[in-house]
């Protein structure tokens, strides 16, 4: 098993914490060499998921982790809340963009951006969303 150290944990309590999550995630993404396009992808997803944690989970935490893999580095973000949980997961993940062009949930957008996506939730038991972004080592490209 690869050791996955938690680089940072950021609380999500107010609107302002969203920008805090963005900054923290951006710093870590820059530190492991993500391109500008990829940084923006990671930060955008983080921002959407943080807003989700705040709005639908009533606040929680964002953990930023790094995992060294064979030819790549994965940046993993774990968003946890102890809110009401998601009843209809399928509905929550439905893509608001490709179908109607209107505003969809940040959840489906984040899932599209991430290389890996995991959602654990149950009614009354809070929600944990994990996304990972993989940055291939330049040498291995």
């Amino acid at each position: 098993m690869t050791i996955v150290p938690t680089v940072r944990e950021v609380p999500i309590r107010t609107d302002m914490d969203i920008v805090g999550v963005r900054q923290a995630v951006r710093e870590v993404a820059v530190s492991v060499g993500f391109s500008l396009v990829d940084q923006t992808k990671v930060v955008t997803a983080a921002s959407e998921l943080a807003r989700n944690t705040l709005k639908h989970g009533g606040g929680g935490t964002a953990e930023i982790e790094l995992e060294e893999r064979a030819d790549s580095t994965a940046l993993r973000l774990v968003f946890r809340d102890e809110g009401p949980g998601i009843g209809d997961v399928e509905l929550a993940l439905r893509d608001g963009y490709s179908s109607s062009g209107g505003l969809g949930l940040g959840l489906s957008g984040a899932r599209r951006l991430a290389d890996e996506f995991d959602l654990r939730t149950a009614e009354g038991e809070g929600t944990t969303v994990t996304v990972a972004f993989v940055n291939r080592d330049p040498a291995a490209r």
């Binding site: 107010t14 920008v19 923006t40 992808k41 955008t44 959407e48 062009g101 957008g109 599209r112």
Partner: protein, 460 residues
Amino acid sequence: MTRGDRDRSGEQPSLPAELEHAFRGRRLPARVRRVIVDELGPGASSSDLAEAVRALVEVTREQDRELRWHQSELEQTNAGLLALHAEIDRQRQRNAFLDAVSRASATSLDGVEMLDVVATLLSSREFAERIQVWKATDTGLLCLADPASQPDATTQEALRTREPAQEGAHRLSVPLTAGPHVLGVLDLHRADREFGSDDVSLARGIADRAAVGLRNAIVYEREHELAERLQHAMLPSLTPQAELDLAARYRSATRGVHVGGDWYDVVSRPDGTVVLTVGDVTGHGLDAAVVMGKLQNALHAYALEGHGPATSLRLVHQLLRGWTSSLFATAVVVEVEKATGVMRWASAGHPPPLLESGDGHATYLDAEHAPMLGINFRREIPEHKRQLTPGSSIVLYTDGLVERRTSDIDTGLDRLARAFTGAGTDDLDQRAERVLHSMLGADDHDDDVCLLLCRWTRSA
């Protein structure tokens, strides 16, 4: 209207209320709150300090507005980014789809097969529920899957205008164009979803790719057909004979290169004898066909010159031995004196002729024969003689007719004898058709097939 704007409207709130707002969410000592209410509230003296605080509150209010603007911009930009990625994703899927269409269009140089793969792809990707492909021919549009059906006005419009044509929202026809030529039309039908402008442009992209594949298939087919018909031209057309009925059939292998090395030939000598030859050069393809042409012509010439079956075969064998080619051939030569019904024959490694007497009894003429032509042998080629009874039929054929991978040759020979005697007609052409049908059926056969029938009709 943004939240910042909303703040600007309405009545100016009291200073304590504004301060309260600015402090919202922050723990503030109770006495500080009191000071605010007491010293800055309504009725309090308007000190310079209060003015400073008021200016300060103005600052926080402005900052607050700006912050909200930024928040809003960031949110909007985020949404825009998500939408852009969704768009990129859609574009990527579209490109991948078109790539798949390109690959499907290059799967085969058989136009029908290729268009079938494309149509299957389109329906499996749910681009359309029902797909109909029309091929432009000299006489108009032809539906390959259903030759009886006729193109409707929308299909015709796409052909004429070279532009996509729609009939309602669930039916789209796109022309298959390659350079200056319209090769056909692709009809797309949907059950429920409508064809939008994006779908029309995607359909164009699909049609362009399919048309490239179709053009290649057409060019190939034209050339391929040419090769087949040229080979056909190398085989003789039978000229009607008095006292002798003749019928011949040639079927190319339905798999692989459609040019083979089988032949049949009929030579009429001025003296009233007729020579029948059937042969099979090993292998398929060009080399076999070329050798076939030469052997057939040589055998024809020797027979015409008057040589008997064994001598003709011997001469051809020597000819073949002299060439650098490493191909071999089996052949059978049968000579019939029309006046007497005397039959002479010789075989070099060829399956035995079938002889049906006038009374419907059939036997294989399985007499001694030489090895294959081209193999190193020096002994004489045995020649056999037999008196035909009036109404007798001779059946010459190549192994492709009787050999199957799934059964042994004896089974094939039995089947042929039964098929010929049980054909249920006296017409030789019909018998040839029926024999082919019962021996080959509709299945693919992987060897060429040659069949030559001859009946001596002279009554004794």
